[in-house]
Assembly symmetry: C2
Homo-oligomer: 201 residues x 2
């Protein structure tokens, strides 16, 4: 088989399989990916710029959920955006380190940031300075929460010492605490923004 009549590969298929592989095994490798697709390694390079491009494709998939529905107040929009961000990244924990080590170039992802900025500007009346600080805060929060939820930074899970605190901590659910911390921090941020917002209606 040299060239099939109907292409068997596509950027979308490659990205999807890479994400699947990452979820299942914690990583993906170009040879593994090719094997999984029943194809030779070099075939992939006809549809994709390389490994980094595949990672960027994964980013695009995850960021797709950040689209804002119409008719939300800016507060609701912020909460929707941040929650979707955290959720979709946390659903693929093993992908986070890959995403974090690489500059964001996916146009869809960038557009999602723009949309949030638009809402904060036109509906909450934040000026440029405030806008950037706000988005930075939200970005920080979501990234941190997703990392904390998914990545292997199980800081307090280790039985490293005789700390009463550490032992108590081990008992509690890691996920629920992370979620609680996220919710509370998001709430703090929204309130802080509300205090600074210039109502435009």
């Amino acid at each position: 088989m040299a060239r099939p009549h109907k292409p068997i590969l596509s950027r979308d298929l490659i990205v999807g399989t890479a994400l699947e592989l990452t979820d299942r095994t914690g990583r993906f490798t170009v040879p593994e990916l090719a094997h999984r697709l029943g194809v030779s390694v070099s075939s992939l390079y006809h549809h994709v710029g390389g490994r980094a491009d595949i990672v960027e494709g994964i980013r695009g998939r995850l960021a797709a959920t950040l689209t804002l529905p119409l008719g939300l107040t800016w507060q609701e929009a912020v909460i929707h955006w941040a929650t979707a961000y955290r959720d979709s990244f946390a659903a693929h924990p093993a992908a986070i380190p890959m995403l974090v080590s690489q500059t964001v170039t996916d146009p869809g992802t960038l557009a999602r940031y723009d949309e949030l900025a638009e809402v904060l500007h036109t509906q909450a009346g934040l000026d440029t300075e405030e806008l950037i600080v706000a988005i930075t805060m939200l970005d920080n929060l979501c990234l941190g929460a997703a990392l904390d939820l998914g990545a292997p930074s199980d800081v307090w899970a280790a039985d490293h010492r005789e700390s009463a605190l550490t032992r108590a901590v081990t008992a509690t659910s890691r996920e629920s605490c992370s979620a609680a911390a996220f919710d509370r921090q998001l709430d703090l941020i929204v309130n802080d923004l509300a205090r600074r917002a210039m109502p435009v209606a």
Copy 2:
């Protein structure tokens, strides 16, 4: 030369050189590291468990600054801890992706978390549940801020569209905004904790 009278390598030297290499070139590789040290690759494995162990050594170096001075109020301690965390990670941006992709095992780092927990427990009177949420929030914040400061997640630097916001944003200093967002968020967290604290004095 087979075995020198005085060892030329040590875990500390290896870790230090790896960090230096990372700062200068954005990454470190075992062969590069060996070359830089004027030594054969396999020599490193007499002093270090492997690449992951070197990364853990780097984590230990950076976490060393998290030690809390005596005589601080718990609020001051939180601010000191978080600021030192953010600062020392942000000073080595290229190291962050490596640190984030790997489980924390460095004992020193784990001890620094314990110390903060101790302060929050005994001085702020937080119960177990509150304690974990608090530390998770702080951990999230610092990690997110460090990532945002150092990692190549220059989200809004890309000239991807005709967004007035995006262009305005490009003008402003990335660092100062990140710092402002961090300071404000840290302030929010401390105040939130103060509201929940049970004064013990």
